[in-house]
């Protein structure tokens, strides 16, 4: 395989969704364009930070990248293969290799399934051996006690649920993970643990990571490149250091200014 080729290539990606709020009484709902022609690539083993305002299309972009949504235009290539319009059945062999960690932890866990089943189910599907051991390891990695296997999602705290979602994704040993806002619900200690874990996976196993976050300190720490999204368009895509030192887009500057520093005396707009 050609290692120099980026794992993910996105070309002029467009995506529209039906707008039910604007639906007339009869006839189809009008389309709302959410992603307006995005082009970028994520090299193997790289970590791309995706930031942008609320509602700018980050989660939608994430769902398109792992093909939970079908783009209405442009192209997405995963490992050289065009997956833009691949039907679900043909995507299935690729599924283990690209994983997503969802923004809303409780909703992403089946309420009537125990943690052990939530993490172990996908492993079983993809023919892994020693499922129990792998589930335990995954729980260890995210800092949850192994006894949590027999708990239901509603018996966990918010941060614990989020970590179950992370454990489910990493247990599959994917090539690509899309992490949608996964650390904002964690305390600094758990945050550090999860970030160290992800960094380790990137360094040791060549994991490629797209990391959606509002937390610019985390982005700065984790990502080499940052992509700034604004209303469905890329307004800035540059190395992290450059974005922080000299933000080009006005929007990026605004973002930097609004960060509350942990200091009651810091003036804040």
């Amino acid at each position: 395989m050609d290692d120099a080729r980026p794992l993910i290539e996105v070309e002029n990606l467009r995506l529209s969704l039906p707008d039910l709020a604007g639906k007339p009484l009869i006839g189809p709902a009008p389309k709302l364009e959410i992603l307006k022609g995005l082009s970028f690539a994520i090299p193997r083993g790289a970590v791309l930070g995706i930031v942008g305002g609320s509602g700018s299309g980050k989660s939608t972009l994430g769902r398109a990248l792992i093909r939970l949504l079908e783009p209405s235009g442009g192209a997405i290539r995963f490992d050289g293969q065009d997956i833009t319009h691949l039907p679900e059945a043909d995507l299935r062999p690729l599924r283990r290799r690209m994983q997503m960690i969802f923004q809303d932890p409780l909703s992403s866990l089946n309420p009537r399934r125990r943690v052990g089943g939530i993490i172990g189910g996908p492993l079983r599907l993809h023919g892994f051996d020693a499922i129990d051991r792998r589930v335990d390891e995954a729980l260890d990695h995210v800092g949850l006690p192994r006894s949590f296997r027999s708990r239901y999602p509603h018996e966990l705290s918010g941060g614990q649920r989020q970590r179950v979602g992370i454990a489910r994704a990493i247990a599959l040993r994917p090539d690509f993970i899309l992490a949608d806002e996964i650390v904002s619900g964690l305390d600094v200690s758990s945050q550090a643990q999860v970030l160290n874990l992800l960094e380790g996976l990137v360094a040791d196993l060549g994991l490629t990571l797209a990391f959606i976050s509002h937390d610019l300190s985390v982005i700065r720490r984790l990502c080499r490149n940052v992509l700034v999204l604004h209303r469905g368009e890329i307004v800035e895509h540059a190395p992290t250091a450059q974005v922080f030192a000299a933000p080009r887009a006005a929007y990026t500057r605004e973002l930097l200014d609004a960060i509350p520093l942990p200091d009651p005396d810091q003036p804040w707009g």
Partner: protein, 283 residues
């Protein structure tokens, strides 16, 4: 909206045990009706017609709940009537749930054309008034237990289809369904192993209601003489007969009515109780 959610605390135990107890009792006597019933439910004895229940001075031993105008033992007829009622409930209920539930699940999960066909069908179906529909059906199929069961299934599957479809749609909007897709599970497996367990509590509650409804429908059809032969002991038939002699022998009406009421109530309470007790999310 949000604040009252968990405040609904229900006592699961009592309701489950009471309703379950009654249903268990009913099932047992129905199963062993030939052994349990003190008299032959069909045996007439015009000499001992309209005997009052056991606590009355004129009561005769062996006729615990008295006799009707033809001298048939009320208790034995209630017991044999339970057989008919439970047969209808236990076959018609689950069958309705299976058909309506499956169609609703498919419509709600797969959406698209499957949903369009099923939903249209439900709409058309519901345009018929149910009582007329059932009488029409019985007229075509002829009377008898099978016809009653068929009539119930044919009429009531839409209730299941509608509710389950809506619930499946709600669940489909949850990210755990997307997570199953990301994991690579097939659509069918996602529907049966992820969505179904979450729709099941609703389905069980609906089923228990439906079994109660089946008992009532059977009683109504017997009442208007569209069920089994007039002789056969059914609660509905007994109520119809008892109505004519309510002033002389109220017990002929009262006991089947009480049995009917308790049974219908127990079915619905049992369903709720099961949900309270076994649904992990509510525990």
């Amino acid at each position: 909206m949000l604040d009252g959610r968990g405040a609904i605390r229900r006592r699961a135990g009592a309701r489950l045990w009471l309703s379950g107890g009654w249903l268990l009792l009913l099932v047992t006597v129905a199963l062993f009706a030939p052994l349990v019933a003190p008299q032959d439910p069909l045996a007439q004895d015009l000499m001992s017609g309209r005997l009052p229940p056991f606590w009355s001075a004129q009561a005769e031993p062996g006729f615990w709940l008295g006799t009707d105008s033809l001298g048939r033992d009320v208790l034995s007829r209630v017991i044999w009537g339970a057989r008919v009622a439970l047969t209808v409930a236990c076959i018609a209920g689950p069958l309705t749930a299976l058909i309506g539930g499956a169609l609703g699940l498919i419509a709600g999960f797969y959406r698209g054309w499957a949903d369009r066909i099923i939903s249209r069908l439900v709409d058309i179906w519901m345009a018929f008034p149910p009582v007329l529909f059932s009488i029409l059906l019985i007229a075509v199929l002829g009377t008898g237990l099978t016809s009653i069961i068929l009539a119930i299934v044919v009429i009531d599957w839409t209730r299941f289809a509608r509710v389950v479809r809506a619930e499946a749609m709600n669940q489909g909007a949850m990210d755990y369904v997307a997570a199953a897709q990301v994991a690579g599970f097939s659509r069918l497996r996602t529907m049966t192993a992820e969505i179904l367990p979450n729709v099941l509590p609703t389905l069980v509650a609906l089923l228990s209601l439906e079994m109660g409804i089946a008992v009532i429908v059977e009683a109504i059809l017997s009442f208007v003489n569209l069920s089994l032969s007039t002789d056969a002991p059914t609660w509905g038939g007994m109520i119809a007969e008892g109505r004519t002699s309510i002033h002389q022998a109220w017990w002929v009406l009262a006991f089947p009515l009480v049995a009917l009421f308790l049974t219908v109530l127990s079915f619905s309470q049992f369903g709720e109780g099961l949900k309270d007790r076994f649904d992990p999310v509510l525990r």
